[in-house]
């Protein structure tokens, strides 16, 4: 399906979508959002693209196969358990590192974030996989 309006729109929506997806991911721990929502949002953009172009075009443009997304995502999830084991804490306990940028701003990075990132990537891969297989099969 080729619709010029949608195609052009997609170009501009890309930034918006991806931005929102990443925001949802990053601040999910404190504000509404999180890996699922972020991942789904990111995937929705590609869904939209698929509606605007054809799924083959999108697939070619994507370069990375959905399976790879899933694998990497799951790997992130698994890796997020490692620090706690290595540091001798109970399994899957969150390990946090904080950097103080200024007096007020403290960035906290922790394994839950990695976990969420894994979920994000995996969910994206999953949605893409759904989309591509359902839209291409005869």
């Amino acid at each position: 399906m080729n619709s010029v309006i949608l195609q052009i729109a997609s170009k501009y929506l890309r930034i918006l979508f991806l931005m929102f997806a990443i925001i949802a991911l990053l601040r999910g721990h404190n504000q509404p959002g999180g890996g699922f929502i972020g991942g789904l949002l990111a995937a929705l953009y590609i869904v939209f693209n698929t509606l605007a172009f054809t799924s083959k075009q999108i697939k070619d443009r994507l370069k990375v196969s959905p399976e790879a997304y899933m694998g990497v995502g799951l790997l992130c999830v698994l890796l997020s358990f490692l620090p706690s084991v290595l540091s001798g804490a109970p399994l899957m306990q969150g390990v946090w590192v904080s950097y103080s940028i200024s007096d007020f701003e403290v960035i906290k990075l922790g394994t839950p974030l990695l976990f969420d990132l894994g979920v994000f990537i995996a969910v994206m891969g999953v949605t893409l996989m759904f989309l591509f297989t359902l839209s291409t099969h005869k």
Binding site: N30, Q31, F36, V126, F130, T133, L134, H137, K138
Partner: protein, 114 residues
């Protein structure tokens, strides 16, 4: 209002059951969606419902009594996502089945029984 919500749950269940008893497999899938929505709502309300107080901690201050119970929300969220995966797979199965057999009628698939 709760009574309305309860009625909605009942209706969703009834509708879902009615749909899964149809012969069309597509309707069956929609019925499953209905049922899972209904179940999600049931789980959601069973722990008590509070409106307008989302479970967000502000600062270091955390007063459980002033906000909604976050646990059922997390459960339902998980359930929704799982349900999504399952529904899509069901859809794919249905689609595959149709492309293999050209059938949408569940009454015609009795070969594997009997």
């Amino acid at each position: 209002m709760e009574i309305l919500l309860v009625a909605l749950i009942g209706l969703l269940y009834a509708g879902g059951v009615y749909l899964i008893l149809r012969r069309s497999l597509l309707k069956f899938i929609i019925g499953i969606i209905f049922l899972s929505n209904a179940t999600n709502l049931l789980v959601f309300i069973s722990a008590g419902i509070v409106h307008g107080k989302p479970a967000f901690v502000t600062g270091g201050d955390a007063d459980p009594s002033s906000m909604a119970d976050p646990l059922p929300q997390a459960l339902v969220l998980t359930a929704i996502v799982i349900g999504f995966g399952i529904v899509i797979f069901t859809l794919a199965l249905k689609s595959k089945f149709y492309s293999v057999t050209d059938k949408d009628d569940s009454d015609e698939i009795k070969e594997t029984d009997i």
